[in-house]
Symmetry: C2
Subunit: 507 residues, 2 copies
Amino acid sequence: MIVLRSPKGWTGPKEVDGLPVEGTFRAHQVPLAEVRTNPGHLAMLEAWMHSYRPEELFDGAGSLVEELFDLAPRSHRRMSANPHANGGVLLRDLELPDFFDYAVAVPAPGTVRAAATRVLGGFLRDVVAKNRGNFRLFGPDETASNRLGAVFETTDRAWDAERLPVDDHLAPEGRVMEVLSEHLCQGWLEGYLLTGRHGLFNCYEAFIHIVDSMFNQHAKWLKVTRDIAWRRPIASLNYLLSSHVWRQDHNGFSHQDPGFIDHVVNKKAEVVRVYFPPDANCLLSVADHCLRSKNYVNVIVAGKQPELNWLDIDDAIIHCTRGAGIFEWASNDADGMPDVVMGCCGDVPTLETLAAVELIRQRLPQLAVRVVNVVDLMRLQPEGEHPHGMSDAEFDALFTTESPVVFAYHGYPWLIHRLTYRRHGHHNLHVRGYKEEGTTTTPFDMVMLNDLDRFHLVMDVIDHVPGLASRAGHVRQEMSDRRLACRQYTRRFGEDPPDIRDWTWTP
Amino acid sequence: MIVLRSPKGWTGPKEVDGLPVEGTFRAHQVPLAEVRTNPGHLAMLEAWMHSYRPEELFDGAGSLVEELFDLAPRSHRRMSANPHANGGVLLRDLELPDFFDYAVAVPAPGTVRAAATRVLGGFLRDVVAKNRGNFRLFGPDETASNRLGAVFETTDRAWDAERLPVDDHLAPEGRVMEVLSEHLCQGWLEGYLLTGRHGLFNCYEAFIHIVDSMFNQHAKWLKVTRDIAWRRPIASLNYLLSSHVWRQDHNGFSHQDPGFIDHVVNKKAEVVRVYFPPDANCLLSVADHCLRSKNYVNVIVAGKQPELNWLDIDDAIIHCTRGAGIFEWASNDADGMPDVVMGCCGDVPTLETLAAVELIRQRLPQLAVRVVNVVDLMRLQPEGEHPHGMSDAEFDALFTTESPVVFAYHGYPWLIHRLTYRRHGHHNLHVRGYKEEGTTTTPFDMVMLNDLDRFHLVMDVIDHVPGLASRAGHVRQEMSDRRLACRQYTRRFGEDPPDIRDWTWTP
């Protein structure tokens, strides 16, 4: 390596209008700003340009002289053909284990619990084991906290410095890059991808905002390089956001922010993908897909707490592949139009929606309910806006054009409106999500604070299904009362009532 | 100051299940995770708790013993009453110069040019001069680049270290805090505000994303402390975003990102305010307002290039105070319903809209056009969603419920949809804005790349006014041809055609 240290603005004007320029901060600006109007500036510019002796560099027709032209490397020695500058040339697909092997057995929906990221951890352990030298896991000291600790069965944290006896899984050859700096994790991963390798960045959801600006530049780079013929695709930049907004029990308001999704969705549609697997098997399917993809930014949001599983692995694959679909087993509208569509996107919103559906079946059994779950957020956009976008016909068939839609979403509710405002049924879409209400409290109190809880979803159904408001007054009051009772229980015992905490789906 | 360095987890369990805890990373987690199920853990917890000798600290009823209770300071010596922890107690209003004195004379709309931030610089210079010790300007080495250089007539950049002869305006007592780290600028300003002073952070629009996460925490802090009775209000956190997305002529795509606005608007409505003054006098009025406000985050977006001025200072004050309004002098629909409403928000979109209106007057003189300019973005929201939100009646009176609205917006267009999706006329609202298309090119090419240019706005009007499409086919083609001609001109001469660059408003 040669390090050349030169004065800033070297060879440019030493002084302009009596002020020093070369070697000072002024060389960072436009050193001669008035060449069009100030003949003195124009003369200095001319002298400066002449100092490069263009008559020796170019021939009479303005072409580079042959001797210099010949200095430029040819063919594969050109910079653009050099894999150091075009890492995609070196890219080798990952050898992925079969994710079926890690699947959670789900004999019936909503009865078996699993921590989604812990299940993923087993898969990632074997991704690491099969791809040493081609895959790394990045994250701000949260690999264990995000329940991916299984990777330490096969590898360590990368560490070249002194080790103490109490240290845990540190080694120079470790495949896990851990440091409490999201900036470093992002920068490391970008460099790793740009040199032709693969990786996954796991992070607390709220703190991924720290790299908003770095994500911007990577997404812009991907957008621009898609149109550069010689640039070979690189592996996608994969984010796994866990320890998310709804499960910050002992952290609180400072750790609650689902806005990175909104930030990502502002970037070019052909570059960004956002996934909300509702359970462990769906997370396996989505992660496998993302690790195979190229030239995208994939954001996966998944919880780390033990939660109910809805789909066995076969159904999970079908559901994730279509990206959005009806949960037939939770719907009772097969014979005709639904009275209400219950949309959901995200693990916690899916749980609350299904618990609400069960309440509706018990208390308002005459209601025809359809449950639509969205895994791939971009499916909601019109097909002209995003490559994953649904046609209007497809959207109408899922959500109807007439029935009210009560939609429970993981993040800020207005994002769903932003994605769907041109859809036929949008006037009848009512979204619940995080509205920046939070504190250090129980999981169920968190959803109650933001009106995303099962009881409030039932109230929303009562409020929006035509004619139901007056007939269902008693049920509505019961739902309101149960919210208050749950709030009281949390204040008294410091945890959620057992019938909430231990709820399972009854078919 | 006393610095106490103690082992992590000091006094906690030294070892749990054979692994060291006190003084290791494990003390950062829950040291005894199984107290409910593991009697050994429970016993260790009990021993640990007993080690604090609670029987000496509390009486039989569980109250703190009097001797200890008496140690706590009383009245104004309590931490909450200490101005070091409650800077609002020290807050003194700024002595603001009369911003009328800095106004640009605007004898007629759209004829006089001024660089908005340069005009503001004069005002800020005198804010600094009148408030030494109570006001600072913060920014990443862009004070001059953002045209606020007038402040250096009265102060310097704060600098305590060695100075070289070529240095410019450095001094220990300087009121301008400049460092090429948006993180430091944000942190310094937060500290300054929290200790009871006032400030303004000026930044390139695209790079303010660097502090997204820090902004989050400050906004959350403001939201929470509003409900804490003893917390006194602090001065607002004021951002001036300049060198914005539409004027990055020699920088390009990496410097083009208006998404901080979207990020800010996700936070609690009672805390955030976003302003788009369309010209220099409006910027003066908005800045004066923001510097007087408390407990908000104010975002002001304003260009630094010489641009046309639309309003004299009296009209500017009225317009900014109402936050959104009809430009009567640019509208010709006073006698009845407009055929089209031309909405605009932001300096460049306002320019393009008015140029489009002039084209419509020339080519489609039969069309009744209303121009509505929005300064205060939050006015677009429903009144139930934001304290500045308009009632539906007010919104309908401005934008109508039936006429198509062609809305030119500074940032990502979907933000306008997100703010207005519940409005009566929303189905007929068509927004142009930045859609992540950009490069290093001319100002007019930038708006053309994103279909925000005057010609495309005329095409949008033709496309959306019922019945106009077939009648105005010739005009539409002319507009499309003029776009192509402008593009060609930029490629040939490296700048915008003079009739675009030098355009002024003809009444």
